[in-house]
Each structure stands twice: as C-alpha cells, then as structure tokens.
C-alpha cells in the first residue's frame, strides 16, 4: 500500500515537473491524489491571518449591516473579550487584561488589508468617526488575539485587528446613503465600485459626518457652580480609493476629523470656548502579488502615511493672555517583501523583510495671540526599523500541524528584539481542534512615550479548543496568561500579570437566524503593588441575536454588552453596566433600498467610562443615554 502511494506520488510529481506552470491537465489527476495535494495560496498572502493559531473572531459586512454598526469601535465592542471606552477626545480599546485609559498606543495593532494603520507619533489607532474607513467599506474585521500576529507587524503585543476592505466588485454599482440621528447628527456617503471588463477593479467612496454633540454638565472646581457646556460639535470628511489590476493593487484613505471638547477637563477656568481638536490622517499603499513559480508566491509593497494632530486651546492659557496651539506632525514610509513557498513537502514557509522609516516627527506648542511665538518645540530624530521574519507551517500528520517561527526587529534608536512564536494545532477528532501556543512579542516606543528604554515585552501562553457540536453550532474556548514587562508610557510602570478565560458559542439556523454569545474573564495585576490594573473589568459578556422577520426584507437584531466593575486611577470602583442596542433592517423592501433604524442604549441606562489621568478633576466620562440612528442606502 505504502509502495503504491509512493509510486503514485512519484508519477504525480513527474507529471507536474513535465508540465510547465498551469499547463497541467487537472482533470487527469485522480480525486484521491487531489486530496493529498497541497495548495498554494491564491489570495493576497499578506492578508492571510484567519488560519492563525489563536482564537480568531470575525465580524462580516453582513453583521455590520444587520446590527447597524456605525463605526469601528461599535464593531470591536461586539467581539469576545474586547471593550471600547470613550473619553472626551477619542475612543480607546481594551482587551486581554489591558485597558489603560488615555493610553494612545494600544497593545493591539490595527491593520487595513495588512497595512499597519496606527499613526507613528502616539501609536494611536482610531475607532470612532476619526477612523480612516467608513464601516460601509469594510468586508470583514478579524480580531487575532495573542502575539502570534507579530509576524504581520511590529508592536502586536496582545493581538491584531485586521480589516479586509471591500473591492469594486463587492459594490458593483453606485450607492448613496444618508443618515441622521440624535444630537442632530448627519452622515452622507457616495460609493462607486465596479470590476471593469478589462479586469480593472475600482472602488471610490467619499463621506461626511457632522454632529452638534451632546450637552455636558459639570461642577466648576473653583466656584462649585453647575456649568453646562453645549459647544461639542464634531465633523469629518473621508475618502477611500482602491484599485487593482492583475497583480497590482493600490489603496489610499484619508480622514480629516474635527471635534470640539468642553474645556473643563483641562482647567478649572470657566470658559465658553471649547478646545478644537483636529486629526488629519492619511496613507497610501502600492502592492504587487505574483506567483513566480508553481510553488513560490511573492508580495511586494510600498507605503507611506502622514498624521497631524492640532489642539486649538483658547482657554488653558487665558490667565497668561494667550491663545495656544499644540501640534504634532508625523510621517512614515516603508516597504516590505514577503515570500510564501511550498518548497518542501508538508511545509509552508513564509519569509519576509521589512523597512520602516518614521520621520518628520515633531511636537510644538505656540501662542498665536497676542504674538506668534513658540514656547516649546521638539523635533525628533527619524527612526529607521529593519525587520525580518521566517515562519514555517509543518504538517506532521494529517491532523497535526506545528507552526513556528520568529521575527527580528532592529531600529536606529539602538533597540533589537526577537519575537519567537511556537504553536501546535491538533485535530483531536473531526469536530475538535486544539491549539496550544507560546511566544514572546515586543513593542517599540512611540515618539510620545519615553524613549531609550528597553522594549516592552509580552510573554504569552494560550490553549484554544474549538469544537463544532454540529454543522451550525460552534464553541470556542481559550485559556491564556500574559506577563508584560518594561511597560512603556509617560512614566515608570509596574510589570503586569494577566490571566484569562474566554468562551464563545455561535449558532445559525437555516431560516437565517444567527446567535452568538461570549463571556470573558480577565484578571490583571500590577506586580509591584499587587493591585488590579486600572480599567480592566474582570467580566465581559456579549449576546448577539439576529432574526429575519419577513424573510430578508425585514430583520431585527439585538445585542447586549456587559462590562463588569473595574477600578479607576484612584483605585475606586466604577460600577458595571449592561448596554442594549436594537437595530431593524429593511433590505430591498423598497427596490434597491436598505433602511436601518437603530436604538442604542435602549433601556436608557446611566453609565460612565474611565478616562486618563491627564484630565484634572474628572475620573469618568458619562456616556450617552438612549439615542437613535436612521440610515437609508440606495443602490443603482
């Protein structure tokens, strides 16, 4: 038998060798041989994350439509073990035992089609209306917890969020959308997408957003009076362009977002004038993918990005008779090469090299009134980072795969880091998959953090069990532990020990009903003080249920997010909360028209998020009560 297989294999290989690329007659291969044939990845190799050895969660465009998610933060908030929290200026992301408020450099990186989208000054990723993409351009969002994603980019300390964008053929026409909702909020969008007969695929989308914002009430720290601030409007403009032709693809995104922030968090001085915060963020990337031989695929890309933050502050320095502007500028560019090869039987090798230059980094504060003068100006040395990595996926037996490799980063700031990862994937039975992984991941400082220190390091161990009860019911469980050392920030921080357990159940019915629920337990302790880490709830739970009411013409979707109690910067307890959102989606009830009506915080619960230490006086940020959102999309 063994002899026969070897002989069959030999004949097959000879057949392959005899025939040049793609010239082989695939119908001449027996089905049994096909089952033993390895495949060479067809799709964009840099985007291949789903096969990762960790407990991946996915939200698709369908879910985004059904639940009426309006921004990336809402999408992430529905995923197992993640929670977003808002402050006056931005939305932040916490997960896997981490959630330091006001910490721009998240420990989970954001990728857009494989491109690292965190800006390089603060290392921030944007999740609200300041995000690079409008959610209508998103095809799927993958959350890959754990450092196994470190191969894809530097700094994925606790995981990566990978966004796969739509292409022109997904849109296949023109869409116009208009939305309005609470706080006098409006959005407008036009999207065109098509795959032309000559093979060129194009997507172009432009959108705007504006809101009057909600009113804030606060106690003036000096006079003790209650003050109302209603000057909280915000707006944005976004453009996204994506084009691909044969192996070439180009994509670019740009967002300009402006937000008025009530002045009181910064100062005790009462002022009617808000801080005006502007974020300008953009990037482009050119990529080329090619199969150079039957078993070698290459991917080359070049990218460049720019971010500018400006803070027009008319109140803080009023006692000094000045109006001040704080500003940061940062630019980055780089290129990478990646090879994926099935050169050796049972092995898929990925090799890559990357160069990144963070340059044009500066921070300044200056008066513009009464005289234009700098009182602080710092220009940072540009930082060049060289990285290489090699990963091998070795299929030992049909049901056992060994995944191992390492990434090496070296920067012109003098830092060197090796991030090894090992994982074992075992199909225990037809229905049960076990993944065991361990690894070390590193993160460089951002410009805004204290530089010159050791790299931040996370050591991780994780056990994942995926079990399919039947075709439509799946259970995923994960047990993990992390140790984070050399924490980077604006000051010296203690090492952290984190432990967690997660479970997720997903079930779908033939009539289109879909149900998903998850629970995550996490416990993070600062080793030096043995105190719980700020803003890290022990319990997070989610329930998502979507039911077709009148076929796909009318669908109701319901979600509950639970965030357990957690501690603020003074180690005072902030109470837990349940949030209920409901969305009704009418799909093609009127020809070519989708109408979505969403009520957020249906029960009108009062709840607050913890904010960073930077804000004087306030420890928490009160969240919205019940709000509604109506959106109409027309396709032609």
């Amino acid at each position: 038998m063994r002899y026969k297989t070897t002989l069959g294999g030999f004949i097959f290989i000879t057949k392959l060798m005899a025939q040049e690329n793609n010239q082989i007659d695939i119908t001449s291969i027996s089905f049994e041989e096909l089952l033993q044939t390895e495949y060479i990845l067809a799709s964009d190799i840099a985007n291949q994350i789903s096969n990762s050895s960790s407990a991946v969660s996915v939200v698709t465009a369908l879910d985004i439509k059904r639940y009426g998610y309006k921004n990336l933060g809402e999408i992430l908030n529905s995923m197992r073990g993640l929670h977003t929290f808002q402050s006056y200026g931005y939305t932040f992301l916490g997960g896997r035992g981490y959630g330091t408020p006001g910490d721009y450099a998240g420990r989970i990186i954001l990728l857009i089609d494989g491109y690292k989208a965190n800006e390089s000054f603060f290392g921030q990723a944007f999740f609200e209306e300041d995000a690079l993409l409008d959610v209508s351009q998103i095809k799927r969002v993958e959350y890959i917890p754990g450092g196994n994603s470190s191969g894809y980019s530097d700094g994925a300390l606790l995981g990566a969020i990978n966004i796969i964008t739509k292409s022109g053929s997904d849109i296949d026409g023109t869409q116009v959308a208009y939305g309005f909702g609470s706080h006098n909020t409006h959005t407008k969008r036009a999207t065109f997408g098509k795959k032309l007969d000559n093979g060129l695929d194009v997507l172009l989308s432009a959108s705007t957003y504006d809101t009057k914002g909600r009113d804030f009430t606060y106690i003036d720290t000096i006079t003790g009076d209650e003050v109302k601030s209603s000057n909280n409007n915000a707006e944005n403009n976004r453009i996204f362009l994506k084009a691909s032709y044969e192996g070439f693809s180009f994509e670019t995104a740009s967002v300009k977002s402006q937000k008025h922030i009530p002045t009181y968090p910064f100062t005790s001085i009462e002022s009617e004038l808000p801080i005006i915060q502007t974020d300008n963020n953009k990037f482009f990337r050119l990529k080329y993918d090619k199969d150079i031989t039957q078993n070698t695929k290459i991917s080359l890309s070049f990218w460049q990005g720019e971010y500018q933050w400006e803070d027009y502050d008319s109140a803080t320095f009023i006692s000094w008779d000045g109006i001040a502007i704080n500003e940061t500028k940062s630019k980055w560019k780089g290129n990478d090469i990646k090879l994926v090869g099935t050169w050796f039987e049972n092995h898929t090798l990925s090799l890559g090299a990357e160069y990144r230059n963070d340059y044009g980094q500066e921070f300044y504060s200056r008066y513009i009134d009464p005289i234009d003068s700098y009182y602080f100006h710092r220009i940072y040395d540009s930082r060049k980072t060289y990285s290489t990595y090699i990963y091998d996926n070795y299929t030992i037996f049909d049901n056992l795969t060994f995944n191992y490799g390492t990434r090496y980063d070296k920067s012109s700031y003098g830092n060197k880091a090796t991030s090894p990862q090992i994982a074992l994937l075992w199909d225990v039975t037809e229905d049960t998959l076990l993944k065991l992984s361990t690894g070390i991941t590193n993160r460089q400082t951002t410009m805004s953090e204290e530089s010159g220190k050791e790299l931040e390091k996370a050591k991780k161990n994780e056990l994942v069990i995926a079990y399919s009860i039947d075709d439509s019911t799946k259970i995923l469980t994960s047990l993990y532990e992390y140790k984070i050392s050399n924490r980077l920030g604006w000051m010296e921080l203690s090492d952290i020990d984190s432990k967690g357990a997660e479970i997720e159940l997903e079930k779908s019915w033939e009539n289109g009903t879909h149900f998903r629920t998850s629970y995550a337990y996490q416990k993070s302790t600062e080793i030096e003080t043995n105190s719980p880490l700020v803003n890290t709830p022990n319990h997070l739970a989610k329930i998502n249920l979507s039911i077709p009411l009148v076929g796909e013409k009318l669908r109701a979707s319901w979600e509950i997010n639970y965030v357990g109690k957690r501690f603020d910067n003074n180690q005072e307890e902030v109470s837990s909360h349940f949030l209920t959102n409901v969305n009704l989606l009418s799909h093609n009830y009127l020809d070519n028209t989708d109408i979505s009506f969403k009520v957020k915080n249906l029960m009108d619960k009062k709840q607050s998020d913890i904010i960073g230490e930077l804000w004087s006086g306030e420890k928490t940020y009160p969240q919205d009560g019940r709000t509604f959102w109506l959106e109409v999309e027309y396709k032609f």
Binding site: I26, T37, H347, L351, A353
Partner: protein
C-alpha cells in the same frame, strides 16, 4: 539585507529541485469541482444542452478555463459567470467564493429546491451542499446531507467516502 536576498534566491533555485506536490489553490479547487460534477447524479438531466458549471460573479480565470469542453454526463462542460436568479437556474453547479458570501447567500436562498449543486468555501453560507475548506496545507470538503435532501441530487458513495465530514 544582501544575505537575506541571497538566501531567498538560493531557496527559490533549490525549490525547483525539491518540488513538493502542490498546485495553485484555485486550480486545485477547479479540479475538485470537476470531480464533484462526475460523482453527482442529476435526476432531471435535460434542463440544458450543456453542462453549466457556474461561478457566482467571477470564475477562476485560467484555472477554470482548463475544464471547458470536458464531457460530464454526456454533455459538454461550459463555464458561466452568473449573478441573477434567472441565470442561476441554468446551472448544474454553482460555486460561491467566500468573498461573495454576502450577496451570494441571498441568491442561493432562492434555489433551495432546485436541481443545483451549491459549492462554497464557507460553512456559514446557508444552504450550500458542499464546502471546500483549507485543511492545513491541503484542501478538504464537507457535505451537508440535510440540505441535499431538499433537492433530488444524488451523490455517489465514493464522494461521500472522500469527504472529511458528512453532516446528517
């Protein structure tokens, strides 16, 4: 940098000698579809003059072209790209890519009782009969008998035997 480049080139050259059994993903998937066609019986076999292997929105290009003109159940195989219900009804097999999941599942919903074998890349696509999955370095497929019973399609025992999993 130079060392890495040398390493890359060496591996590529070496690779030509150490050829592993591998095919591009979609050439392999096309071969799977060809075998599904051979190993399935269509009770009503006179719907069309040709055997229509259909792809929702986009076919595999060169990888599926090689199947053109092959004879399946005494009919010449034709490749069609479809997107409407009317076009879909002319098909013996419809393949839906994972990337077309959103729009594709809507169309399939309308075809539950038709004599059409639905093949997809994602088990979550409602009402697909066969799913081709990535299984480590190789491909595998699962069969959903519950959904197949709604049609009059008959899958050969060989096909069921080679399936990684048959959901009853």
């Amino acid at each position: 940098m130079k060392t890495i480049l040398t390493l890359f080139i060496t591996i590529i050259i070496l690779s030509q000698a150490l050829f592993a059994k591998a095919l591009p993903e979609y050439a392999l998937k096309a071969a799977y579809l060809y075998n599904f066609a051979l190993l399935t019986q269509w009770v009503e076999n006179n719907k069309t003059d040709e055997f229509n292997l259909c792809f929702y929105k986009k076919d595999f290009g060169e990888d599926s072209d090689s199947l053109k003109g092959k004879i399946i159940h005494n009919k010449e195989l034709k490749i069609l790209d479809i997107s409407t219900l009317k076009e879909a009804k002319q098909c013996q097999i419809i393949f839906v890519r994972e990337s077309e999941e959103e729009n594709g599942s809507e169309l399939i919903q309308e075809l539950i009782a038709e004599q059409i074998l639905i093949v997809s890349e994602n088990e979550n696509i409602n009402n697909s009969h066969i799913t081709i999955l990535r299984d480590n370095n190789k491909l595998a497929f699962t069969v959903n008998m519950k959904r197949l019973k709604k049609t009059e399609l008959v899958l050969s025992s060989k096909l069921l035997k080679l399936a990684k999993k048959v959901n009853q």
